[in-house]
């Protein structure tokens, strides 16, 4: 193609293969010849799988959906980096031009007690779903979409809420944290809804329930290392966790009073 800087490179993939949660896994090495540098990482894995299927072998299982970096379905470790070495990028948006010819890449699933491996690179992230269903929603009837200027939300608040809402729930934060903590995920959801008027009704109950569910699922606590935010494909800030801590404290201190005052 004219103007394309496409090259072909050879890559060695060491891929974690595990038949099921109960069976022990191991690394298998695959040589990939002539991979286009324009291919995304998932497309390179597709090519590997086509070859494996042709040979009658079991293809590598990995999660993926939109392949546009917005759904949060994909994700695994490449050489110890969640979603690979490129900052602010999901693995579906990572391209093979990031790597050099002859490189060996070690590919592993997210590892955490709360994220058991389903198969190969696919892990069970339903713990996140249970945290969301414990409180990460609004149940007030907000009606039809209103004119933007009718909503009492200032521009800075809207921006901050949007930045928190950018979390796609991929689990890279848990995977990268030495404590397998889900604080960045939970704090992004709590911050997002706490900043908006629609989220006020359940504000206190929400943070209580989501933190309790997070602990119940067996995620660790925050050591403020910042590994999560460095790995996050959406650059969710560590300040969200400070806000989570604040929200839970105020909820604990003020909840009863608010409930009585509201006559709920």
């Amino acid at each position: 193609m004219a103007g394309s800087n496409s090259k072909k490179i050879n890559i060695t993939l060491k891929v974690w293969r595990q038949k099921s949660a109960k069976e022990a896994g191991q690394f298998m090495t695959y040589e990939m010849k002539e991979v286009s540098t324009d291919a995304s990482f998932l497309e390179a894995l597709d090519q590997l799988n086509e070859k494996l299927i042709t040979k009658g072998e079991d293809p590598v299982t990995f999660d993926h959906d939109c392949r546009e970096g917005i759904c949060g379905t994909c994700g695994f470790m490449i050489n110890g980096n969640a979603h690979g070495p490129q900052k602010s990028t999901t693995v579906c948006q990572l391209h093979m031009r990031t790597f050099s010819d002859g490189e060996t890449l070690t590919i592993e699933p997210w590892r955490a007690q709360a994220f058991p491996v389903i198969k190969d690179l696919m892990v069970d992230r339903s713990a996140f779903d249970r945290i969301i269903s414990s409180g990460g929603f609004v149940s007030v009837d907000t009606g039809n979409a209103q004119d933007a200027n009718c909503l009492p939300v200032s521009k800075p608040e809207a921006d901050a809420a949007f930045e928190s809402a950018a979390c796609i729930g991929c689990g890279a934060c848990v995977a990268s944290c030495k404590n397998a903590s889900a604080m960045l995920f939970v704090s992004a959801k709590v911050s997002h809804l706490a900043l908006l008027p629609q989220g006020q009704v359940e504000r206190n109950e929400r943070v209580d329930r989501m933190v309790a569910q997070m602990d119940e699922e067996g995620f660790g606590a925050c050591s403020t290392t910042g590994a999560c935010t460095a790995a996050c494909p959406k650059d969710i800030s560590l300040s969200n966790i400070a806000k989570l801590n604040r929200e839970l404290l105020f909820s604990t201190l003020l909840r009863r009073e608010a409930a009585e005052g509201d006559g709920v």
């Binding site: 070495p85 590892r111 007690q113 329930r209 067996g218 403020t224 460095a230 989570l244």
Partner: protein
């Protein structure tokens, strides 16, 4: 739909970090004042002993010790509970490649439990050496008081003690360099604008406390021959 889980604040991971933050703040303040006050060793034996006498003979010493011991126990207790939870959350599962890669985190932040444990051992041995150490007496300004200065001189004359103290004080500085900044995070007083400032202040605090303390045993060790 599963039943809603309730958990008392202090038993949540967030609540325990709050306890770590508040007790850490108390101890961070204490070590700074301890370091600053003990600088009197550079002035004279009389000044040092009089300062020690003033602190230990006042009524403030009992509530202060109570708060410090309570904070210490809560800090260690919550740390043990958190570390156990963190280890079980990570499970036996290790990555084949180190997870930091290019997305680096500070060494101090990853190793708080390790230097924390050594500092725990240090504090116990330090109290045994000095607070419950040999009781010498001296008289300054007509008042009979404990001659702590003499004990300090004797202890830091020994290279083994000097080395152990230098090691532990460096680790204390390291612990503070991450801990002081984390206090703000755990207490929820941190935003993106202030985060870089808080991180710098934290490192500076650790550096000042460690260097301030280190000067004292080094001074004793290297000036004793001249006396």
């Amino acid at each position: 739909m599963s039943a809603t889980i309730e958990r008392p604040y202090l038993l949540t991971s967030v609540g325990k970090k709050m306890v770590m933050g508040i007790t850490g703040l108390i101890w961070a303040g204490f070590v700074f004042s301890h370091m600053a006050g003990n600088m009197l060793i550079l002035v004279s034996p009389e000044a040092y002993n009089t300062y020690g006498h003033m602190i230990t003979s006042g009524v403030i010493v009992y509530p202060a010790e109570f708060i410090l011991v309570l904070s210490f126990l809560l800090h260690v207790g919550c740390a043990v509970s958190l570390v156990r939870g963190n280890m079980s959350a990570r499970g036996g599962q290790r990555y084949a490649m180190p997870t930091n890669g290019e997305k680096a985190v500070t060494p101090a932040s990853k190793t708080m439990a390790i230097h924390g444990s050594l500092i725990l051992a240090f504090i116990i041995s330090h109290i045994a050496t000095f607070k419950y150490g040999i009781y010498y007496e001296t008289t300054a300004h007509g008042v009979v008081m404990r001659d702590l200065h003499r004990l300090v001189m004797e202890v830091f004359r020994q290279p083994g003690f000097l080395f152990w103290y230098l090691l532990c004080l460096i680790l204390l500085g390291f612990h503070l360099s991450h801990g002081v900044g984390s206090i703000f995070q755990s207490l929820g007083i941190r935003n993106d604008r202030m985060a870089p400032v808080i991180n710098k202040v934290s490192v500076l605090y650790g550096l000042i406390v460690a260097l301030g303390f280190i000067v004292q045993p080094l001074y004793v060790f290297f000036t004793l021959g001249n006396r």
